[in-house]
Amino acid sequence: MTVLASSSSSSPLQFWGYFMDHRSEDLGWLWDHTWLSVLPVVIGLLIALPLGWLARRYRWVYPPMMSITGLLYTIPSIALFVLIPPIFGLGALDPKQVPIALTIYSVALLVRVVADGLASVSDETIQAATAIGYKPVGRLFRVELPIAVPVITAGLRVALVANVSIVAVAGTIGMSNLGQLFTQGFQQSTPDAYYPPIVLGIVLCVLLALVLDLSVQALNRLLTPWRRAVRT
């Protein structure tokens, strides 16, 4: 916070100039924001796959699993950030607490997505795969998961965009990410409102969410050529 509010105009449209003045710091935050948004979704998916499979395989597991994951999602993010260090034995501002919290959110969201994705595979297809001689693991990876890809990627898009916004909240408790821009904006808004860092934070968050969303859509297209095949 070495910058003085008076050194530039306080018009919201000055965010570009603000960015150019603090490029290296802002880019560092953007990078941190990116991996903080993406990595928990990747880890979350890896954890959600077996859990979602369980919820699909043993029908009685589904209702309690959905209740628990649904509850997890209702915990306010700021509370979760604060609760994680004591639970996981971390320092109050350990950099690991944010990815851990976001992984929990991602798992909570993706377990349902994986279970519903597997449920989207038709019974006939599963019967046929079994009758043909697939063992359960082969069937899961070669038949069920590939067919569940569209449902799962739809869930990934939601999880990623949600993470981009939750990460920003972590910035306000001092973690390195685009949320810092909002803290700066508030701190520099005394006595008069000073918008450029706040607008810059919003613009970069939206751009990041957009890029991540488009990447998942591209991945989905790559993995599901069969979905675009239309009857001729």
Binding site: E124, T125, A128, A129, I132, V143, I147, T224, W226
Partner: protein
């Protein structure tokens, strides 16, 4: 050969789906399981490849107890075709068909060329290879299902109502092609259907099941029509049994009457020997239809397609009594048209002459 040896299936909820079933499906033949919904057909079928485990009893595959074979190995030796085909939506047709060869570790090239060969066998054009299942009609998907089941040349095929979900015209076509294919490949087939007509058309032997999983009768189609063992089977086999049974009796060599004909494209004749109807043939003597001379002015018109009555069926020399009787009954002149194997006119026969043949044949049905 597949042999059920007092096989019972009791589901956890207490339902007895199959009760002490003894049944042999001989090698190279089509055994049809038929019966009302819920009588245990699917359960019986799935116990063969152990998608469902029997509660008691043994199912033998040749001289091996299926319970002693690892399930995935057993299944890779048994082709399986179901209603709606159950194709893999994310794989192209060629890869769908090659699934079992891939699982068996064939190299990709060999698996694909096998797959293309099978596409041709089941009547799918080669340019379908790169399509996905969603791009095919129900009937085409069902052909892919059959090709996929045949890919690794398994000795046994299980088919669970494979043609039930397609429209009647396509079903007839698929059934006919299925019989032709079976002539070539001679698999041991267990075929499940709820449709008695399909059972009679396709089965070398037919097992009629009743609800509760009891075998009511095991017989050839002809036997089933002529000698149902009890009221249940008689009721299930349905009406017109006597008439349909004629479909399994050869008419022998029919002695026909010579039939006066007129040529398509020739002027309408001035009269006919036997009443107003005259048979119209083309230049190859292939019957085209009947012409009603009462409805046309003699000598003025040329005989065209549009003037012909085409409702009559044709009987082929050496065919069945049913075809002969139907030809006579469906002919507006009352004279059934008999043709040779090439479809050319031989002559005609009346319904009363066919009835005389029916009465004169050996009363005992030949199973």
């Amino acid at each position: 050969m597949i042999r059920f040896d007092s096989v019972t299936k009791r589901y956890p909820d207490g339902t007895v789906a199959v009760d002490e079933l003894d049944l042999t499906a001989p090698s190279g033949k089509i055994t049809v399981l038929v019966g009302p919904s819920g009588c245990g057909k699917t359960t019986s079928l799935r116990m063969i490849n152990r998608m469902i485990e029997p509660t008691s009893g043994t199912i033998w595959l040749d001289d091996e107890d299926t319970a002693k074979i690892a399930t995935h190995e057993l299944r890779r030796k048994i082709g399986y075709v179901i209603q709606h085909a159950g194709l893999f939506p994310h794989r192209t047709i060629v890869d769908n068909i090659a699934t079992v060869p891939y699982l068996l570790g064939w190299d990709k090239k060999k698996a694909r060329s096998r797959s293309l060969e099978l596409m041709e066998r089941v009547g799918l054009p080669p340019h379908f290879a790169k399509r996905y299942p969603a791009q095919l009609s129900g009937g085409q998907q069902q052909r892919v299902g059959v090709a996929r089941a045949l890919a690794a040349d398994p000795p046994v095929m299980l088919m669970d109502e494979p043609f039930s979900a397609v429209d009647p015209v396509v079903r007839d076509q698929l059934q006919a092609e299925f019989l032709r294919l079976q002539e070539e490949i001679g698999k041991t087939i267990v075929f499940v259907t709820h449709d008695i007509d399909e059972a009679i058309k396709l089965g070398d032997q037919v097992a009629v099941l009743r609800v509760g999983g009891h075998l009511a009768q095991l017989a050839t189609p002809a036997e089933l029509l002529t000698r149902p063992v009890d009221a249940f089977v008689a009721g299930f086999v349905g009406r017109d049994r006597g008439y349909r049974a004629l479909g399994f009796s050869s008419a022998g060599t029919i002695s026909t009457h010579q039939e006066q004909t007129a040529a398509l494209g020739a002027p309408t004749p001035y009269g006919a020997e036997n009443g107003p109807w005259i048979l119209v043939v083309d230049e190859k003597q292939i019957p085209q239809g009947w012409l009603d001379l009462d409805g046309v002015k003699p000598g003025e018109n040329v005989i065209t397609d549009g003037m012909l009555y085409r409702g009559g069926t044709l009987a082929t020399q050496g065919g069945t009594l049913r075809a002969a009787l139907d030809a006579a009954l469906s002919s507006p002149s009352g004279r059934g048209v008999v043709v040779d194997d090439a479809g050319a006119l031989l002559g005609s026969i009346t319904a009363s002459e066919v009835l005389a043949l029916i009465e004169g044949r050996e009363r005992e049905p030949q199973p």
